[in-house]
Structures are given as structure tokens and as C-alpha cells.
């Protein structure tokens, strides 16, 4: 059976990526200088699908505006998930737009096209549901899987720590029968998980579900520091669409880089960027569209999203910025490691200098303790020291 349709679940907010997801869904966060979702669609285009259905929900205008009606000549249709009621509920929203067998991908993971090919092969002519499985040290953070040969024997949505080592990579192939299966699966806590429908098939009906072991690239954005890792992977594996002037150094033709600036690959400098004299940018850094790096600034192992302005003399290490962030002169982000509190849990020793969400303004001379999370539209007065979490719209003065 040919898999002509690709369905991508792109409606999730990404609570653990707050405050970066204040104005856009998680799949629209940057991996390198392009949204994660673009990399996902690249994978589908490589798999030669004829059409793409994007299931959108939270802040969907951002997805629709970015991709419009087609991506790399493959037409896109949009299915709207009005409320976030689980991955199964999300897929069910695509029902009216899919007729034949389909590939289903999560919109928040950069994966190698090889994974999709493997899943398509396992789906093969029999048309049994298939999913990709991989080893992961933090299986408890993702959905876990048990395999017997090429058959999945168990799927666990929220596993206990240490019990599992295989995870569900979020790449599936289904026939349209999945829609009936989903419609017939009872909700749990008001939510309908895709894995619940698959588990029912395995446990209640005893029908086969194929699991494909893979160890290809898989980079997932679950936490803010993941964005630094995902960007590093993207830069090292040639997934940047700007021209490459030397090995892993990508500079958009419309960017203006002062001749006295130093660019250290791997690095991508997006369209319309300006980099001032004696600035040092890179390695493992992505500058989104229209980013300004002032004279004598240093930016390394950081992801700066569109319209960010870095003032002269600033130092940013392991820093993530949202859109339209303004960091005044001599902003200092010395870099991780840090203990970061997110979603009622503390994550220890994470490499994260600071996160500045969309439209934060730092007036100048601001210093960020490692792991600082500054909420959208916050204003930091001159000379402020920020640590921990700063709420949205706050006005912080010394």
C-alpha cells in the first residue's frame, strides 16, 4: 500500500516549553533558524507523499501563515483541533481529509527520513499499523514501548522511571481503519491518546502492530534547553536551507556581516540579519530572521529567534530568545549548568544560560543567572540581575 498522505499533529501548546510558547505552538519553535515543523515536513516530502494534512489548534494562525497552502509543492490541508484533548483526538480531526493509508508524525520532533522509510516498509503490503521505536535514556519522559521481535507487545503513555528503555518515536503508519478504532476508544481523563487506541488493538483484539527499531537522528523539543540541542543537531547534519559558505557555516545572502566580525561554525545567520564590528558569533548558534548583533557582542551555543536585537558588548552563552527580544548594551548571560524548575518539577544540571520569551526588553547591563526564564513582554531595568522565573508582563527594576 502506498502512503500518499502525511498527517502531522501540530496543535500542541507545549506546556513544558513555556514561556516560549506564549504566542505559538511548540512545532513553530526554532530548530536552527527554521521552525521544527519545517523539518518534519521535509521528512514527509522526502517520503514522497502527495499531500499533507496539518492538524492545528493552539495559536494555529502562526502555522497557517507560515506554511500557507503548500510546502515545497506538496499541497497542505488544515484540520482544526479546537481543544487539546490528546493525540488520538488530534488525529481524529483529520478524518474527513484522509482517504487512504497515511503516515502520522508528531510536529515537534526533528527526525531522519530513514525512520519514515523504515516505518513505511514495516507497514508494507499487510497494512498492519506500524510505529518507530528507539532506545532513549529518559524513557519516562516519553511514551514507552515493549517489543517482541517486530511486534509491539505493550505501549505505556506515562511510564515509571527506569522500567523501560524503548520509546515511541512518534512516527506511525495507519490505514483509515485507525479512525474507527479511535472513535471506539474510551477517553481517559477526558483525553484520547493515540497510543490508547493502539493498545486496545494489541491487548483486546490480539491483532498485530509492527514496531520498527531505529537509531537514526531523532531530536525532540520538550524542554527549553532541548532547543539548543536540536539546533546543534540540525547544524551538524546539513538541515539548514541558507547557502553554506564553508563547512557548517550558513549565511543568508541578505544578511549584512561587518568585515571585522568573526563567525564561528557551526552557525546559521538568517535573512536580513546584521552583525556588527568585532562581534563573535558561534559556534552552535542560530540567528533567526532580522536579528541584530551589536558591536563587540559575543553569542555562542545560542538560539536567537526573529527580530532579536543584541546590544553592543553583550555576552550570551546557551541563551534562547523568542521573537522581537531586545537586549540592551552589555547584557550578560554567562551560561549553564543550572537547576531549572518547570511544570512542578526541578530538572538538575541542565545547560541553559537563560530564556527570554517573545518581546522581552532588557534595558542594558542586565545579568541573567543560569537557568533564568523571563516571561513574554517583561521589561528588565538597567543593571537588573534576574534569576529563576520572571512572570509575563513584569516590570523588574533594580
Amino acid at each position: 500500500m502506498t502512503l500518499d498522505t502525511g498527517v502531522v499533529l501540530a496543535g500542541g501548546e507545549g506546556r513544558r516549553l513555556r514561556p516560549l510558547t506564549r504566542n505559538r505552538p511548540k512545532p513553530m519553535l526554532p530548530a536552527g533558524n527554521r521552525p521544527v515543523l519545517e523539518h518534519v515536513l521535509d521528512t514527509l516530502v522526502a517520503a514522497a507523499v502527495d499531500r499533507i494534512v496539518l492538524v492545528v489548534g493552539y495559536e494555529r494562525a502562526r502555522v497557517q501563515e507560515h506554511f500557507g497552502p503548500s510546502y515545497r509543492d506538496v499541497p497542505i490541508e488544515y484540520a482544526v483541533q479546537e481543544k487539546e484533548l490528546g493525540s488520538g483526538h488530534a488525529l481524529l480531526q483529520a478524518r474527513e481529509r484522509v482517504e487512504g493509508p497515511m503516515l502520522v508524525l508528531n510536529g515537534d520532533r526533528v527526525i531522519d527520513p530513514g525512520i519514515v522509510t523504515d516505518v513505511a516498509d514495516a507497514f508494507g503490503d499487510r497494512g498492519d499499523p506500524a510505529l518507530a521505536v528507539m532506545e532513549h535514556p529518559d524513557a519516562d519522559t516519553y511514551g514507552a514501548v515493549r517489543l517482541d521481535g517486530d511486534r509491539v507487545t505493550e505501549l505505556v503513555e506515562k511510564p515509571a522511571a527506569g522500567e523501560y528503555r524503548l520509546i515511541n518515536a512518534g512516527v506511525y503508519a495507519f490505514t483509515p481503519a485507525i479512525f474507527d478504532a479511535l472513535a471506539g476508544t474510551p477517553k481517559r481523563d477526558g483525553e484520547l491518546d493515540l497510543t490508547a487506541a493502539i493498545s486496545r488493538r494489541i491487548e483486546d483484539e490480539g491483532k498485530p502492530v509492527r514496531g520498527v527499531r531505529t537509531d537514526e537522528l531523532w531530536a525532540d523539543a520538550t524542554f527549553p534547553w532541548d532547543l539548543l540541542y536540536v539546533t546543534r543537531e540540525v547544524l551538524h547534519t546539513d538541515r539548514v536551507d541558507e547557502p553554506e559558505s564553508e563547512d557548517t557555516l550558513y549565511v543568508a545572502p541578505s544578511a549584512i556581516v561587518h568585515p571585522d566580525a568573526t563567525l564561528q561554525p557551526p552557525l546559521v545567520v538568517g535573512p536580513d540579519c546584521e552583525v556588527g564590528p568585532n562581534a563573535v558569533v558561534g559556534p552552535e548558534t542560530a540567528l533567526g530572521r532580522n536579528v541584530t548583533v551589536g558591536a563587540n557582542a559575543t553569542v555562542e551555543r545560542s538560539v536567537l529567534d526573529a527580530d532579536t536585537r543584541v546590544g553592543a558588548g553583550s555576552t550570551l552563552v546557551e541563551c534562547v530568545t523568542g521573537e522581537d527580544v531586545t537586549l540592551g548594551a552589555n547584557t550578560t548571560v554567562p551560561g549553564g549548568p543550572a537547576d531549572v524548575a518547570l511544570d512542578d518539577r526541578v530538572y538538575r544540571d541542565r545547560r541553559l544560560g537563560a530564556v527570554f520569551a517573545d518581546r522581552v526588553t532588557a534595558r542594558g547591563g542586565v545579568t541573567a543567572d543560569p537557568g533564568a526564564l523571563v516571561g513574554p513582554n517583561a521589561t528588565l531595568g538597567t543593571g537588573v540581575l534576574v534569576r529563576g522565573r520572571i512572570d509575563e508582563d513584569s516590570d523588574v527594576v533594580r
Binding site: 497557517q64 500557507g68 497552502p69 535573512p271 546584521e274 527580530d307
Partner: protein, 625 residues
């Protein structure tokens, strides 16, 4: 103002190709639509046409298809109409035919001598079935076909002669029964030719099959862009004949004209709605991207320079424009004056018929489509007086772009919603850059540097407005108000006018924009406790203070006041509601304030269930005077 699509060489897909083309053109008019097809051996051209939007025609064609009676042929043309002569009706819809049904014509424009021609033809026994000016064309051709010198093997000379007798503005395409060739001519109305040569179908990679050659004529590229990206822009007075093998373009003298085939680079899918309820909302949300495209490569903040591909250093400037573009022109004129260049904006229709002294002015025509008849006339009037002209337009290869000495493209991509949104923002931005490029020649470098950083921040600031706007909730509050008023000063005066125009166009509500200081000189009599007043106030300078004074005048009449503000002037103390925009210098704040007002207009109209993308009586680009 109408849309034409015609094709030869699409075989059995001819009808589908035409209907697809119409669907891409209906922004040009939509009160009736029709198709005409013929093939070898036919005695008459088969015509189907209907009053109403394209769906009405589609339904008729579907019913006919179910009965096996749909029009068939390998040569076809179609038309979507926006009435000028004669009410919208089945009879007045195009295509029009002669008495015998042998000749069919679609036409865009106005035939000024149609009454004389009609009287003459009627006296010769021709029977007219419509009230249109267009119908004289097929009858005129029929008359010439019946003449002694007519050779049925070659209808071209008769058609050329008929076209030569027409006065006025037109783009016409003529089909003759049984003839597998179409004939087209243009005078002051757009007509473009598209060509997909035999075996050139490999653009989509292995999936697409090589196809036979096909040739198209249309009012605008989107009509055939799904089939080819190779385009020939016809000039005034040129005559084209197209068939499956290719095309020939000749001048009025009959000599073959060497044409150049251009490749259009935008994607046909750009015209899809991609999940939005309306094109207008999609285009409002596209503004950050449109402005980035507009500014790309033009602003060098580090170097402190604007680089535009136009060569002007005017002593004085006159703008000519209509509608929304006129508001952009008012804004542009204000910026030129701030740069020390005397500048005025004129309504193009007035300028064309009662022009002011031009002296040595640079005349700038602002027109999204580049085909706006009034603006073209004004520009031609200016050229006839020997001054330089500049077109500020969105449409590459448009008449304005080709006729003017210089072109400044706003680069915002195709706009489908009739109510201009992203193109207005891009016009403001492009004119802003143009004014800066003139200012930098005059060594006002400090101003230029500040403004450059504001320009680079503009796309992100527009995104901020889109992300944070409370316009929807506010619109809900004011749906159904008897009148809406908009006030602003300086660069915000055109924003007030544009805010009112947008609301009028799509909600059909009554709305007026005023210069803030003008309100008390009359319009204040209309202000009541039921008429919301939108005041655009940014910064905390003297203009803001004065506008706040005007806000107080309104407030004391108990009118609900909505302040569109960056918060610096504390106007919110006197306002009932606030639409907030990021802090920015006045010239870019005007772009941001307008985005809030676009959203208000959209949500008011949406609540009222109006056909937002196709408001009644309006057309996207108005190519009649």
C-alpha cells in the same frame, strides 16, 4: 472591470481550465460569469452564462454535465463581470455573440463609441439582446464577415478591422465557431499571454506527464498560473492570435512584434486561503512577512542607508492615487514634507481631468494592481506635460510599471481580498523607505538612522499587534453602531481615513475619518453616545496633546472613545477602551495603528456575516474611469 481567461490546446480539459481560471479571477468582479467553447466542425460557439457569483455558473454547468449537455470544445474563453453598462443579468453577462452565434466576444473595459456603432449596426438589421457596450463587437465582426472581401479561412483581417473601429479602453478576446484559434487585442486594459510549449511539463519532476502545448490569454496571471509560469505582457495596440502551436503578436500596422517571454516566480498556491475563514484575515496575518519582503535588501542599519532601485531626487512631489492607495499617498506626502520636499497627494480621477500645475514635480502613482484606470490616466496626464513619473505598485509588469520612468515595487505578494490590507501596509513601508532615501541625499543622516532601526523593527512590531490585539472583543461591543468615527493628526490622519474606509467597505456600516482638529468644525454634530470614536494617539509630543484635546471634546458628548495608542501619552485616562500598539516613532506607529483598525473592521464585518472578501458593488482593481 472584469476578468478574462481564454485557452487553446487544453483538449478535454478546456472547460475545467476555464472554470479554474475564473475562480482565480473573481476578485476582479463577480456579478455574472460565462463561458464559450468551440471546436473544429462547429457552426456556432456554445455559450453558457449566468448572473451571480461563479457558483451560479458552476451549478448550471454541473447540471448540464449530468445531462451530458455541457458545452464542449477545444477552444474556449470565459469571463467574470463587474457591471459598467447594463445591470447584472443573464443577458448582460459575457460572452456576447452576433446574430448567428458564429462569433463570441469577451471584453473588459468601456467602448466609448458604442452608441454610434450600435445605431449603425441596428440600422443594418442586427438584433441586440443586451444593454452592454460589448455586444457591438461581435455584431461588428459579423457585419465584416458578410462583406465582399471576407475569406472564411482567415477571420483575422475582419477582426482586426473591427477592433480598429473601437474607441475607448478594452481588452477583448474573440472566438469564431469551428476555428481553433483565438484572437485578442488590448487598449488601456490588461491582457497577458501565457504559454506552455509542447513537452514543457517537466517542472513538477517525474510526476507530471509531458503535455501538448497550450496557450492562454487572460486579464491577470493567476488565471493560468497553475498551468504555466511563462508569460508575455501585451502592450497597448497589440493584437495576438493564439493556437495550440503557439502565438503571434502583431502591432497596429500588422507587422510581427518581437515579444519577450518572462517567467513569473510566485507560486500559484499563494492564492489559496490556507485554513483562514477569509482571505482578508489571511492577508492581515501575512503582514509581517509582506513587510519583510518589502524591506529585504533595502535597509542597511549598520551602514545607515536605504538602497532602493530607483533614481530620483525630486524638487517637489505630487502623488496620484485612488481609494486605499490614496491614503498611502497622503501618508507618503506627509513623509516627504518632513524630509523637506514639498509634496501633495491628489485623487487620481480629479488630477486626470483637472490637473494642477506640475512645474518640475516628480509624479508618483500609487496603485496596488498597476492597472487602476484613474491612476493610469493621471500618470499619462503628467507624462504628457513632460515630467518624470514613478509607479509604486505590487504588480510586476503592470501597465503602470511599464509606462512610468521609475518603479518602486512594494513586494507584498498577491492580494485577493477586495479590501486592501497587507498591500496598504507595504505601500506605507515602501513610501517610508523612498522618503528616507530622498532625505539621506539631503544629508539628514540622524533622522535617517533612527528611522532605519524603526523600519527593521516594524515586521516584529506588527506581529506583536497581531499576537496581542483585543480588537475582536472590542468589535463585538460596537457591532451595529449607527456610525463610526476615526480621528488622527499628521501621519495618523491617513490612518483615520483608512480605518473608516475599511469599515465601510466590508461591514457596510457608516464610517468617516477626520483630521482630529477638523471634528469640531462640523462633524461633531454627528457624535452621540452611540457613535464610537477611534482616536489614533501615539508618542507624547504636541500632536498627541492636541489630539487628546479633541478626544476630550468627544468624551464630553458621551461618545464611547477607543484610543489606539502606545500608552506614552496617557490618553487611556480619557478613553473607554484601548487598542495598544508597541512604542515606535510616529511614521511606523501609523502602520501599527492601522493593523488594529483592520482587525476592528474585519471582526465587525464578520459578526455581521458580511461577504468580507467580496463586498457588494466593489472590485479588487478598478480598470474603468
Amino acid at each position: 472591470m472584469c476578468g478574462i481567461i481564454a485557452c487553446v490546446g487544453r483538449g478535454d480539459d478546456t472547460l475545467d481550465t476555464l472554470v479554474h481560471g475564473l475562480s482565480k479571477l473573481d476578485y476582479r468582479g463577480y456579478d455574472s460569469a460565462g463561458v464559450a467553447l468551440t471546436g473544429s466542425g462547429d457552426d456556432t460557439v456554445e455559450v453558457v452564462k449566468r448572473q451571480g457569483q461563479l457558483d451560479a455558473l458552476r451549478r448550471v454547468l454541473e447540471t448540464a454535465r449530468a445531462d451530458g449537455a455541457e458545452p464542449r470544445g477545444t477552444v474556449g474563453m470565459a469571463h467574470t463581470r463587474w457591471s459598467t453598462h447594463g445591470a447584472p443579468s443573464d443577458a448582460n453577462a459575457h460572452p456576447h455573440t452576433d446574430c448567428t452565434g458564429r462569433v463570441a466576444v469577451v471584453h473588459n473595459g468601456i467602448i466609448e463609441n458604442y452608441q454610434a456603432l450600435r445605431d449603425e449596426l441596428a440600422a443594418n438589421g442586427h438584433e441586440f439582446r443586451s444593454e452592454t457596450d460589448t455586444e457591438v463587437i461581435p455584431h461588428l465582426i459579423e457585419e465584416l464577415f458578410d462583406g465582399p472581401e471576407y475569406d472564411p479561412a482567415d477571420p483575422e483581417p475582419a477582426i482586426r478591422e473591427a477592433v480598429a473601429r473601437l474607441e475607448g479602453s478594452f481588452a477583448v478576446v474573440v472566438s469564431v465557431a469551428g476555428v481553433e484559434t483565438l484572437f485578442g487585442a488590448r487598449q488601456d486594459n490588461p491582457l497577458v499571454l501565457g504559454t506552455s510549449p509542447r513537452d514543457a511539463g517537466s517542472a513538477g519532476g517525474e510526476r507530471s506527464e509531458p503535455r501538448a502545448g497550450a496557450t492562454y490569454l487572460a486579464s491577470d496571471v493567476p488565471a493560468f498560473r497553475a498551468f504555466t509560469d511563462r508569460v508575455v505582457y501585451l502592450e497597448n495596440g497589440e493584437f495576438a492570435r493564439i493556437d495550440a502551436e503557439g502565438w503571434t503578436v502583431t502591432g497596429t500596422d500588422g507587422e510581427v512584434v518581437q515579444t519577450s517571454v518572462e517567467t513569473v516566480d510566485w507560486d500559484p498556491e499563494d492564492t489559496g486561503k490556507s485554513g483562514y475563514d477569509h482571505f482578508m484575515l489571511k492577508e492581515i496575518h501575512e503582514q509581517p512577512r509582506a513587510l519583510r519582503q518589502c524591506l529585504q535588501g533595502r535597509v542597511d542599519e549598520m551602514g545607515g542607508r536605504v538602497t532602493l532601485d530607483v533614481d530620483v531626487d525630486p524638487e517637489r512631489v505630487q502623488f496620484v492615487a485612488c481609494g486605499t492607495s490614496y491614503h498611502a499617498a497622503l501618508y507618503g506626502a506627509e513623509l516627504f514634507r518632513q524630509a523637506g520636499v514639498p509634496a501633495q497627494a491628489f485623487l487620481a480621477s480629479e488630477y486626470a481631468t483637472s490637473p494642477p500645475p506640475v512645474d518640475d514635480a516628480l509624479v508618483i502613482g500609487v496603485t496596488q494592481s498597476g492597472e487602476t484606470a484613474d491612476t493610469l490616466s493621471a500618470l499619462r496626464e503628467a507624462r504628457s506635460r513632460g515630467v518624470r513619473t514613478l509607479a509604486c505598485t505590487n504588480t510586476v509588469g503592470s501597465t503602470a510599471a511599464r509606462e512610468c520612468d521609475e518603479v518602486l515595487y512594494i513586494r507584498s505578494g498577491p492580494e485577493i481580498g477586495v479590501a486592501a490590507t497587507k498591500t496598504f501596509a507595504a505601500q506605507q513601508t515602501a513610501l517610508n523607505a523612498l522618503a528616507l532615501s530622498v532625505a539621506q541625499e539631503r544629508r539628514r543622516a540622524g533622522d535617517v538612522r533612527d528611522s532605519l532601526s524603526a523600519l527593521r523593527e516594524l515586521p516584529g512590531d506588527v506581529q506583536a499587534v497581531l499576537d496581542e490585539s483585543n480588537a475582536e472583543a472590542l468589535a463585538e461591543e460596537f457591532v451595529g453602531a449607527p456610525s463610526y468615527f476615526f480621528i488622527g493628526r499628521g501621519v495618523h490622519f491617513p490612518v483615520a481615513l483608512e480605518g473608516a474606509l475599511k469599515l465601510k467597505e466590508i461591514s457596510y456600516g457608516h464610517a468617516e475619518g477626520f483630521a482630529s482638529g477638523e471634528l469640531k468644525h462640523g462633524p461633531l454634530a454627528l457624535v452621540t453616545d452611540e457613535t464610537p470614536v477611534f482616536a489614533v494617539v501615539t508618542g507624547d509630543g504636541p500632536l498627541a496633546t492636541k489630539t487628546i484635546g479633541n478626544v476630550k471634546e468627544v468624551e464630553s458628548r458621551d461618545a464611547p472613545v477607543v484610543a489606539v495608542t502606545d500608552g506614552r501619552s496617557k490618553v487611556e485616562r480619557y478613553a473607554d477602551h484601548v487598542l495598544e500598539i508597541p512604542e515606535a516613532p510616529p511614521r511606523t506607529a501609523a502602520v501599527l495603528a492601522n493593523v488594529q483598525l483592520q482587525l476592528v473592521a474585519y471582526h465587525v464585518a464578520d459578526r455581521l456575516g458580511r461577504p468580507i472578501d467580496k463586498p457588494r458593488n466593489l472590485a479588487k482593481s478598478v480598470t474603468v474611469e
